[in-house]
Amino acid sequence: MLAVQTARDATPALGPLVSVTDVQKTYFARQGAVQAVASASIDVARGEFVSLLGPSGCGKSTLLMMIAGLERPTGGSILLGGTEVREPRREIGIIFQDATLLPWKSALDNVLFPIRILKLPIEPYRRRARELLAMVGLSDFENKKPSQLSGGMRQRVAICRALIHDPDILLMDEPFSALDAITRDQMNVALSEILETYKKTVIFVTHSIREAAFLSDRVLVMGGRPSTIVLDMKMPFERPRRFEIEETPEFTAVCRKLRLTIEEAHSGAPAHSPSAQSRGARIE
């Protein structure tokens, strides 16, 4: 277990901000045990953008929910800033596939929702909420309700809401997968711009190879049956990132490598992962 941690080169002297060690998740249903995650170990350094990439049902969202403290792992440990995650914590901002805004609240009040829940003083945060909305180009829409906003605008409000209480970590669960392809590309650029201003540690779940490659410092491919992390790959692109990088041969080569890894894991061939791919096999 220790060997896994020290092997990661991305960890600075302080140690990783998020440290997932040999985490497993098994659901016990009436039909028997279903193993969602067989074994996953991830270290995420402060300020790093890590994507969990894989096909639907590979357990990547489950892993994210465990890091959020919304689900309990059935094995292994998750440390956040050195302490074990047992329940949801305020240093996390979370974004789901749907914007999940309160339909009766304005965009501004939706952004302020976490402040109300956390019982922080509203007034000082109102300015920050306006700044965030301006940052994502929604200054003129702060009094509009969600029904008057487009899907992309709603998701931008959700991003502002996740950032309002200045969390250390952003957890994003396929945040753009409900959007059309053009809006999605725009959101990817927008997100990387936001993160240039508000430096955050991000764990990003997606099933889009291009999206993962474009946004991330590191891409972890999840797959196999039962599911493990089969590839941990650094993205060799400069920041700030703009659309142009997607047209480089380098980008194409990275995407190809990711795609081949996913296909290989999906077709049942032995996974690359050096750790624990056989552990859960007997359960299913």
Binding site: W104, F113, Q148
Partner: protein
């Protein structure tokens, strides 16, 4: 601040098209005229036909009094009608209020306790299958001939739709929204007050609108069985004496009282909508 980065990505272009332009005013006015004019016109025609049929067909007032004679009676004897309308309206309002509180309370219990839900829900539904009007005389035995038995009976038949629709409203909350709340370390009370309850409001009001009409029915049935006052008592009393005119006048006043109570619920709903509507005012 970083607005400079945004327009370059083309994100601004979609924004203008989202807000629909104002509807043509002429169309809206015409629609409103139609939506109020048509039903009022039809009602007027029906009343006119009724009046003509009674006058030209020489129908005796015992069988069917004419609309004009009913109106005349209401105008002349409004004091008697009002005297009987007051207890009926108050008892209906009391029954409705208790039914609403009881219904919402039960819905909260059903929502938050699995055991309570499993124990209560099938019984509540089974309860619904009883023709509840058949139980009305029992309420007189249990609670006497005073207003408490009528109020209790009104509660008994009115609370069910509130429970069902409120519970459905509490359950209608988006699962991701609940996960978001939990991720933000919200406690149950915060989730209830800021998410579940507002989301359930349209459901609660639709349950309340059914409950108010049922509460009036409950009180009238109670008055049919035994009462010294009230519109139900007046209807039974007048009918027994073959005084159809009084009976019909009492029914008209009852309709007005019902509309009034229903209107209060609708008013409360529109006030709630000011704060909890998905549309901008």
């Amino acid at each position: 601040m970083a607005a400079s980065g945004f327009p370059s990505t083309g994100m601004g272009t979609e924004t203008g098209a989202i807000i629909a332009g104002p509807q043509p005013a002429k169309d809206a006015g015409l629609t409103r005229l139609r939506s109020t004019g048509l039903p009022l016109g039809l009602a007027a025609i029906v009343l006119a036909v009724w009046q003509l049929a009674v006058t030209l067909g020489h129908i005796p007032p015992v069988i069917l009094p004419s609309p004009l004679s009913i109106a005349k009676y209401i105008y002349e004897r409004y004091d008697i009608l009002l005297m009987h309308a007051v207890p009926t309206t108050l008892e209906s309002a009391a029954g409705f209020a208790i039914a609403t509180l009881l219904g919402i309370g039960l819905a909260i219990i059903i929502t938050y306790s699995d055991i309570a839900r499993e124990a209560l829900y099938p019984n509540l539904v089974f309860f619904q299958l009883i023709p509840k009007i058949a139980l009305a005389p029992l309420f007189i035995i249990w609670l006497g001939i005073g207003s408490q038995s009528r109020i209790a009976f009104a509660v008994f038949i009115a609370f069910f739709p509130v429970v069902i629709s409120t519970a459905a409203g509490f359950a209608s909350v988006d699962k991701s929204m609940l996960r978001l709340c939990r991720a933000l370390t919200a406690n149950e009370w915060q989730i209830f007050s800021s998410v579940r309850f507002p989301a359930a409001l349209p459901y609660i009001f639709s349950g309340m609108k059914i409950a108010i009409t049922l509460a009036i029915i409950g009180v009238i049935i109670g008055e049919f069985i035994t009462a010294q006052a009230g519109l139900g008592y007046l209807i039974i009393f007048a009918t027994a004496r073959a005084d159809t005119e009084i009976s019909m006048a009492a029914i008209v006043v009852l309709c007005i009282c019902g509309l009034l109570l229903y209107g209060l619920v609708a008013l409360a709903e529109s006030i709630a909508n000011r704060f909890y509507s998905a549309e901008n005012p």
